[in-house]
Symmetry: C2
Amino acid sequence: MVFEIIERDLMGRIGRVKTKSGIIETPAILPVINPFKLTIPPKTLQIEFKVNAIITNAYILMKNFYKEVTAAGVHKFLDFNGPIMTDSGAYQLLVYGEVDATPEEIVKFQELINPDICVFLDVPTGSGVSYKTARKTVDETLRRGRECLEIKSKEGILWVGPVQGGEFIDLVEESARQISRLPFDLYALGSPTKFLEQYNYSKIVEMIVAAKRNLPLNKPVHLFGAGHPMVFPLAVVLGCDIFDSASYALYAEGERYITPYGTKRLSELKDVICTCPVCYKHTPSEILRMEKKMRIKLLAEHNLHVILNEINNIKYAIREGRLWEYLECKSRSHPTLYDAFKLLKKYQDYLEKGTPTSKKRALLWLSDETVNRPEIKRHLDRLNKLQIPWQPRTLLIVPEFKNKPFSKSKLYNQLLNNILMRTDILKNVQIVILSKMFGLIPIEIEEYYPLSQHLTPTIISETHLNLIKDTLIKFISMNYFKKIILLNDERQYGSILTEFLLNMRNENKFSDLQVFKLNNSSYIGQEDLYKLKAILTGDIENC
Amino acid sequence: MVFEIIERDLMGRIGRVKTKSGIIETPAILPVINPFKLTIPPKTLQIEFKVNAIITNAYILMKNFYKEVTAAGVHKFLDFNGPIMTDSGAYQLLVYGEVDATPEEIVKFQELINPDICVFLDVPTGSGVSYKTARKTVDETLRRGRECLEIKSKEGILWVGPVQGGEFIDLVEESARQISRLPFDLYALGSPTKFLEQYNYSKIVEMIVAAKRNLPLNKPVHLFGAGHPMVFPLAVVLGCDIFDSASYALYAEGERYITPYGTKRLSELKDVICTCPVCYKHTPSEILRMEKKMRIKLLAEHNLHVILNEINNIKYAIREGRLWEYLECKSRSHPTLYDAFKLLKKYQDYLEKGTPTSKKRALLWLSDETVNRPEIKRHLDRLNKLQIPWQPRTLLIVPEFKNKPFSKSKLYNQLLNNILMRTDILKNVQIVILSKMFGLIPIEIEEYYPLSQHLTPTIISETHLNLIKDTLIKFISMNYFKKIILLNDERQYGSILTEFLLNMRNENKFSDLQVFKLNNSSYIGQEDLYKLKAILTGDIENC
């Protein structure tokens, strides 16, 4: 197996790509090496930056360093003994419209210089092209992919199958479907660069999902040309494993300073806002006063530190099962990233596939978009199908408490001693817990993860209320209760739920409503408890 | 002037506190020096960490190092020539119930060892005490404050006036009001530690606002005992300038690793997730295998790097005018921090005071809580008072475009050539732009900051819609239009606004509604343009 998946969260995963020069642990960012200009030498990347894989351009090598690189092999030529990936010149094809090499030549040249991962000369769709042209790039990429697999003869090299189609989502889907039938070791999504430049993250989301849904989930996927850390969390959430970054050096040349939430001109920076080895030693104004070559070198180093650290933080978030929360925070970097984050609502089913059913940590409600978490969707899907087999006549609705599970609460204890020990009562009552995170939780399943392992804000938002109302409506119409009893926490809900249930009763969704007010938001008064018991017993007599 | 304010955003500020040993640039975090255990020596703090001020405990010095520290002075004793603040033993009073020294002794001892900033022995309210006890701590603190000002005789020392009252907001207000009448150089808010430990950030918000509203705005304010970076952005937004942190060392001793969004056990960490000099050199597992003393030293260093970097990032956010956005992102670290962030809605007027009317950067809409920004409140306050002096009969509502201002749009150009050049039409028409960020913007003021300098998501949320509807209702009822014309961007708003305006018309808020659909979300068709012109001219004839 070329790719081993170690941990998952949402569609992100920590994995290991096995190459002949070593393992690439994903999510990974491969710094792009420009053979003309080693802003940071590959050896330094390996030793000082602990970078374990790099990417360079086979076409540039072929056209400019043919003799040296074919003689030495790409590892010796670049002085890097870890995994090396070579891109094919497709980017040059996109920018200049043509390249001075055939797909066959590029395949053979790559085998000659012997990197670990290779891409054949695919035809990037780019942006702003017609549907017809886009379709041609897809078809031609596929044709070249098939040709590549026929031509290639060297063992030990992993080959990448790129998906094209650009902004045409149906073409991306088709391209992915077709290329996934060819036995590539990795897949890639072709140049989203234009959309990234336009901050069109919503389009990126659509493109990635369209590709990923049609690619085998057990193969790593490279997102080409996405080198800015702002996009990494989103792309990883959607299932991208490998990135390449020329940006650390390109931004440095433009005297730009990368931060996880955007890029600044070095000259705009007054404060040290980073702890990386470069920023620890030099203030922005010191760097600004250095001679140009040193300034660019230091900026490139800083930029790379930030980029690598972002990948490490994402990896850690996957390991901890808090990738959603990580993105929830990071998506507050730009309104367009926030747009893209909201769009994930459309892809809950897709994201749910990779989300573990159990984690070590509590889920956190951090904004109203938390409602789109696949864990919530998962619960609601089950709840909406849940018809209680013993058909109880009464629904008893209890509030949630800060300390979960409910069965540890004072109220539960009261119910336990007086009601829940009575099997004659029990068979006629279903107890559900109101939940700001999950709407409603039947008491029988409350200890299943994450139904008691989550933290919500104290303030109830419209989103919480709507969630509770929606689940109430569905649960009640699925189960035909005669009577509904609400133990109301007025401090939290006021009379909102009472009115809501009254309306439902008036619409004959059930016939009888009884509301008890909790004392001090936490327990039921003695008299009310007797009354509650009497009602529940009365139900039995009526049967 | 002891305190000079350089930059502001919300109630946060970059300032300079002038002490006899140098300037403390705020927001500042003063590492706490435990004289028994110099986890990181003060000299190292100064040189390697660029820390320019520290805090230590006068009571501990007095009880344990009396001879040495009175002989050498606190600067020589600690080997630190920058500003030193001494706390008074009030914390020991809180923890142990009593201290073995009188307030007078503490004042005199501090003058003897000659730090730059001193606190008299105040009486911390703490938490979980009765109102009566709390009131006593407030009164006794005030009495001791007065006494301190009478006793103190040494020139050149700055004295701090602490505010007490704990969770009793009216007591905090009174305490602040009273202490602010005494001529202290700095003020402080007493021990919120318990609430911080409980993650009760909402209480912290209330306490800070209660204190700050009653303290002079031109004096620096210290928030005692808030040493975790999670709370810094919120506290700075509300106007706290100085923090102290024992946490970098205390957490290290508990083998805990601070991150900007929470704290981890070192043993839980698998990945390097930080670029600081410690983490650059050592992986978590390497640190875990070291001997204990070295492990704690390195952890303390890491923790301090994170803490200092957070302060630097906050400072930078103030400088850039994006402190709200910084907090908007950071408040997604925990549900209780999110609660506290939402609570800022209550304090818009307070926060507005410090918010510049003009900034170099565009405002970003990053979540539905963005609607609570003081810049929006500021606009709505003006809008809600705006009665158009020339009393136009017609309101023309136009959509906003991604590229602002509206006057650069194709639609504006169409209106300009056909309508806006006609002064006879103009005096009867008010044009307003629908805005996702500001509700409504009268066209005359659209170029004032930030009415055209902001970015919003593409997706319209309920919050946007409610904002627009609310401002429409208020604007229309303030100005008595006869006719309303909506140039509707259906792609954005569908028929929502049309229906909303129809309802208003049916309620006789105005008498005539005309809706034109925009082509391609961007311009008005030729025929519609003529019709619009005719309507507007017709209005004139009807007058």
